[in-house]
């Protein structure tokens, strides 16, 4: 299983490159003998519907976030699909009347710290498994794969107890230490693939030249694995930014909450929901990952497909 990892990661990359470039892996044009009309009905119309449905909740989120209250609840007078007098009121309330900027800071620091911690641990573990060839390395790789399959929803109760015993309850450090449980398996698995795709001869040359193993890792393997490091890094960041159940279970006081938890527990108060601020909060909380994503789309796709095709 693990032998095929490297070649598969390469294959995935090749497939993606081919797709961006010349689309060589698509069925060639002469295969699609369909008429233009038939093609429109069977391809473009369903695709347009898919894209519309997949994007509509975001559009609805944006449009609600910038609607004034009188428009938001009066569908007879104003068409709900459009904003007639857009306002930044909801966003202003969110930024100045709630602790939202603080929650953003907490989320950001937790995500960055747990990402760095996970990447550090994963690089070393992946290097040991992929390159040092110790006895039982395959079994260790398999164990890490199983660790990835353990869902947080069966772990959070005993983890809450562990966190409490360590005196970290209601402390963001608890999140920094527990997020690696799902980040490390993913990143290690991804990096093993990248390390295996690097020719071993390069390292042998360095060994003959008298470099130590750690020098090789630092000077040769890591620079060549930069795409893998970026993939693992942005994926780890996104996963920790989006994490919910641990943050909900381990954090109690308002000032230590992360954005997803805070919106749901602090902004939802009483029976009357402030949909404008809720949508503005969701929008602002989504923007960092969406921005990140837009810069690194190809890395996302390659890590997503690479992780599945081990």
């Amino acid at each position: 299983m693990s032998d095929a990892q490297g070649t598969d990661a390469l294959k995935t990359l090749a497939a993606i490159e081919a797709e961006i470039g010349t689309s060589t892996s698509d069925p060639p044009e002469q295969l699609s003998w369909d008429s233009q009309l038939r093609r429109t009905v069977t391809v473009y119309v369903p695709l347009a519907i898919f894209v519309l449905v997949l994007l509509f909740p975001f559009y609805w989120m944006v449009i609600t976030a910038i609607k004034p209250d009188d428009e938001m609840y009066d569908y007879a007078k104003y068409s709900p699909f459009w904003v007639h007098s857009p306002t930044l009121h909801n966003i202003k309330v969110l930024l100045f009347d709630t602790a939202y900027p603080h929650w953003l800071m907490i989320t950001m620091s937790v995500a960055i710290a747990s990402t760095i911690l996970s990447i550090f641990a994963s690089v070393l573990a992946a290097y040991a498994i992929a390159r040092l060839r110790f006895r039982g390395d395959r079994n260790v790789g398999l164990l890490i794969y199983f660790a990835y399959m353990v869902p947080p929803s069966i772990l959070f109760i005993p983890l809450a107890s562990v966190v409490y015993q360590l005196g970290l309850y209601d402390n963001p450090v608890a999140l920094i230490l527990t997020y690696p449980t799902f980040l490390i398996p993913f990143c290690t698995w991804l990096l093993i693939g990248y390390f295996k795709s690097i020719p071993y001869e390069l390292e042998e040359c360095a060994l003959i030249d008298g470099a130590s193993r750690l020098q090789i890792l630092w000077r040769i393997t890591l620079p060549l694995a930069v795409p893998g490091l970026i993939s693992a890094g942005i994926f780890a960041f996104t996963l920790s930014w989006n994490e919910f159940i641990y943050a909900l279970a381990f954090i109690q006081s308002s000032e230590n909450k992360t954005v997803p938890v805070a919106i749901l527990t602090e902004l939802v108060t009483g029976d009357v929901y402030q949909w404008g601020s809720l949508m503005a909060g969701s929008l602002l909380g989504s923007i960092p990952v969406a921005l990140f994503y837009s810069f690194f789309v190809e890395y996302y796709v390659s890590s997503l497909t690479g992780a599945v095709k081990e």
Binding site: S23, L47, A128, I154, L155, I245, G285
Partner: protein, 322 residues
């Protein structure tokens, strides 16, 4: 003369390396290096994954609460769950939720992957926006769905009632058990399609076009090509994606917690949300842990069925079992 100079310089070089050599040698000593490299990962995973996993099973047999380790109570938690209709309802919901969403997600996801595999303009861009629901924090998009499912201001009701006139009253999406279940299923399908579509698309792109050409020359219809080439060659990746999808849907928490919190009247609780409800706000860690432990056999079974059920077919196709 040249040779002796070289020999001398080599000797000097090795002499220069002498002082730090015990450290260098230690770091080149493989067992030590392996141990150092595995230490951070092993440490974190043992303390925060393996130990809690075992502790969770232990807690299921105790009456622990938050801050109180509790005492061994045998099967008491399980016995009280056995007589608890809310627990059985959550089991039922979890199965319905997993089964229905998985079927719809894979049907639509495969369709979307096939559509994206055509020659279309702005393909990279479309693929990028299709993945958006997967990237955005689940809870935040769930809040958008919550707003879409609002009883008074739902945009769906507005279109169906005021614009199209197909219905005469607004739908109470989250007010009755079955409406709420279907609403959650819709939100989960929406959230899950992109992952499945993009990973299956990657699988589709590894199928050599020559196979389709050959089939076309042999007069195979579109359905035959799909059934005899696409499906079998997609099976290996399909089995992995299916396993992960079943695993994560079965243990889903965020969507339900954000949209219904198990309501109305505990009718949409999944096992994960019920476990949370009992363990954290209800502070009955033992009972919550028992619900979580009850998920494990189902999870193992689901994983084995999806993985080996489809994996065996992969072997039957004569492919390497890597």
């Amino acid at each position: 003369m040249d040779a002796t100079a070289q020999a001398a310089s080599v000797q000097r070089l090795s002499f220069v390396r002498q002082p730090d050599s015990w450290l260098v040698r230690l770091f080149d000593y493989k067992p030590f290096l392996v141990a150092i490299c595995m230490l951070p990962t092993a440490g974190l995973l043992l303390v925060f994954l393996t130990y809690p996993l075992g502790l969770g099973i232990w807690l299921a047999f105790t009456d622990a609460t938050i801050g109180n380790p509790g005492e061994f109570v045998g099967l008491d938690n399980f016995i009280s769950l056995w007589d608890d209709p809310v627990f059985w309802l959550s089991v039922f919901n979890t199965f319905v939720y997993t089964f229905v969403t998985t079927i719809i997600k894979f049907a639509l996801g495969l369709w979307l992957a096939l559509l994206l595999n055509h020659h279309i303009p702005f393909k990279a861009f479309i693929r990028a926006i299709v993945l958006l629901p997967f990237i955005v924090p689940t809870v935040l998009s769930a809040i958008a769905w919550w707003w879409i499912f609002s009883p008074q201001f739902s945009i769906v009701s507005y279109v169906l009632v005021d614009r199209l006139g197909w219905l005469d009253h607004y739908i109470n999406f989250l007010g009755t058990p079955w409406a709420a279940r279907w609403s959650l299923i819709v939100a989960n399908v929406w959230r899950g399609i992109p992952f499945i579509a993009i990973t299956l698309l990657a699988g589709l792109q590894t199928i050599p076009p020559s196979l389709y050409e050959a089939a076309l020359l042999d007069g195979a219809s579109g359905w035959q090509r799909f059934r005899r080439i696409t499906v079998p060659l997609l099976m290996p990746i399909l089995s992995v994606v299916l396993t992960l999808s079943v695993l994560f849907t079965f243990t889903d928490f965020q969507l339900v917690y954000a949209i219904t919190r198990g309501g109305p009247f505990n009718s949409t609780h999944l096992m994960a949300t019920l476990a949370f409800q009992r363990a954290i706000p209800g502070s009955q860690l033992g009972e919550g842990a028992a619900i979580a432990v009850a998920m494990i056999p189902f999870l193992v079974a689901a994983t084995l069925v999806t993985y080996f059920g489809l994996g065996r077919r992969k072997w039957q196709q004569g492919e390497a079992n890597d």
